[in-house]
């Protein structure tokens, strides 16, 4: 199994959710994060002081799937999250050794 972590633009969350849903993915976990990257930040001004804010709001979507699904999931996420402008984000794939569903104690693919 693998965990696919996608860092996306916040307003793309609904599209990504739909896309994953359409693949039959039943669950995902979402975190508000701040991203630093090539996309330039913006200036903020408070009375005298100017600050360059280079951490931008992003959403991290985490979804654990069986390994055979990984490529499909990646394709779907790209299709849904892409705007073509800088800062669209990244996808990271990492290995997952075990999955457990807390309610039932089911393990691994049954638990997804």
């Amino acid at each position: 199994m693998n965990k696919i972590e996608a860092i996306i633009k916040p307003f793309k969350l609904d599209d990504v959710k739909e896309a994953l849903h359409s693949l039959g993915v039943q669950g995902m976990t979402v975190t508000e994060v701040k991203g630093f990257g090539r996309q330039k930040g913006h200036k903020e001004i408070y009375r005298g002081a100017e600050y360059l804010v280079d951490f931008l709001p992003k959403i991290k979507v985490e979804v654990v799937v069986k390994t055979s699904l990984v490529n499909q999931v990646i394709e779907k996420i790209i299709a849904a999250a892409r705007t073509g402008s800088i800062g669209d984000g990244k996808i990271f794939v990492t290995p997952v050794e075990t999955v457990v569903r807390i309610r039932t104690g089911e393990r691994d693919e049954d638990a997804l």
Partner: protein, 403 residues
């Protein structure tokens, strides 16, 4: 000079001033967090801009010596003649009358700003409201309160059902149409980001509205007292009927429904409060809560994006209240007022309807002209990217929250 009336009107003016910050947080709570400051800025900026216009020429256009029933002349340019002596026909200093009326010219365009929240550019907003005060607010105010043609016809608008509510509601409709929908409107969700602000906002509005309505008597007497209590009762009834209507239709009574219903009741009683009694206030406020709710529901079908429902609440409430004044007004409540249809004078109702149509058409046409002109010259909206990033950051270089 009457010191009690003077004290009462000064405090009332302060209460009306407070309504604008109250409106700012009412509105601010309803936007997405990335636009809370720009939305509040509309109201707060008008506390400056509208006041200065008022001083320079706005007051004079509205309350200066009549020119053809349409507008005042510039006799009071730069506050000329507005001093500490008693204003003719009143019991309070002229400057206190000037101050009291000067609070209304702030909140009226501030109300409009709810229609184009989250996407209007700040520069064009300034131009638009400055022109709107000049070409819409000041003349309409003159027609009704400054001795203009509607006043001569005998229109009854105690505290601004036409001057403030219908006027801003119509302008809001035009603005929502001309400025266009927010990006994603209809498929993304536009959920209020902080309803505690909105609830506090309705608290301050309700509080300030006592100054708005009772203060419009410009004297601390029984008519003011009547205006006070019917204002309260209409707010109470409006809040309840809206909540029960949505409880029935949608299965849940909401706090936003309560706040909206209170505003609907308050807006509707505004033209009537100095002329109608307690039973009438229940009818006016209670029905306002339902029809304004229906108007808000209808918006989705009609398909314009009036972000904060100025049309459904203030526009519809303003029409309803002005119409009802023509039904329920009674000289038993206020000998200086008139009798409505139910008290024997059908003519009053006719005058009210003329007033509604006149303000509706005038405000719609001039607002449209102003907005299309500004659109042609400079555009009205932020860019798509700025809208995505949020107007707070893109236009003002600030963010609301760093929690």
């Amino acid at each position: 000079m009457n010191a009690a009336d003077t004290a009462f009107v000064m405090i009332s003016a302060a209460l009306v001033l407070l309504m604008t910050p109250g409106l700012a947080i009412f509105y601010g709570g309803l936007t997405r967090p990335k636009n809370v400051l720009s939305t509040m800025m509309h109201s707060f900026f008008l506390m400056g801009l509208a006041s200065i216009i008022w001083l320079i020429y706005g007051y004079s256009l509205a309350f200066g010596p009549d020119v053809g029933g349409f507008v005042g002349n510039l006799a009071h340019f730069m506050g000329h003649g507005v001093g500490t002596e008693v204003k003719e026909g009143l019991t309070i200093p002229h400057c206190v009358f000037f101050a009291f009326q000067g609070m209304f010219v702030i909140i009226t365009p501030a109300l409009i700003s709810g229609a184009f929240a989250e996407r209007m550019r700040f520069g064009p907003f300034i131009i638009f409201t400055a022109l709107w005060i000049t070409f819409v607010y000041a003349p309409v105010c003159h027609w009704i309160w400054g001795g203009g043609w509607l006043a001569k016809l005998g229109i009854l608008d105690f505290a601004g059902g036409l001057v403030v509510h219908l006027n801003c509601g119509v302008a809001a409709l035009v603005a929502a149409l001309v400025v266009g929908k927010r990006k994603g409107y209809g498929h993304r969700s536009f959920i209020p980001h902080n309803l505690t602000l909105t609830l506090l906002g309705i608290g301050l509005l309700w509080f300030g509205w006592f100054g708005f309505n009772a203060g419009s008597r410009l004297a601390a007497d029984g008519v003011a007292g009547n205006a006070f209590i019917v204002t309260h009762m209409a707010a109470a009834t409006g809040s309840l009927t809206w909540v029960f209507a949505e409880w029935i239709l949608r299965g849940k009574p909401t706090t936003l429904g309560l706040a909206s219903g209170a505003v609907a009741g308050l807006g509707s009683i505004t033209p009537a409060c100095g002329y109608v009694g307690l039973e009438a206030s229940l009818v006016i406020g209670g029905i306002a809560g339902v029809i304004c709710y229906m108007a808000v529901l209808a918006k989705d079908k009609l398909g314009y994006d009036d972000s904060l429902d100025v049309v459904g609440i203030h526009g519809v409430g303003g029409v309803w209240g002005t119409f009802c004044t023509g039904l329920f007004a009674s000289k038993l409540i206020n000998a200086d007022g008139g009798n409505g249809l139910f008290f024997g004078d059908a003519h009053q109702l006719l005058v009210q309807i003329i007033g509604i149509l006149a303000v509706l058409i005038y405000s719609a046409v001039i607002t449209a002209v102003l907005l299309y002109a500004i659109k042609a010259v400079s555009g009205l909206r932020v860019t798509a990217e700025e809208e995505e990033l949020g107007v707070d950051t893109s236009a003002h270089g600030e963010v609301g929250y760093n929690l």
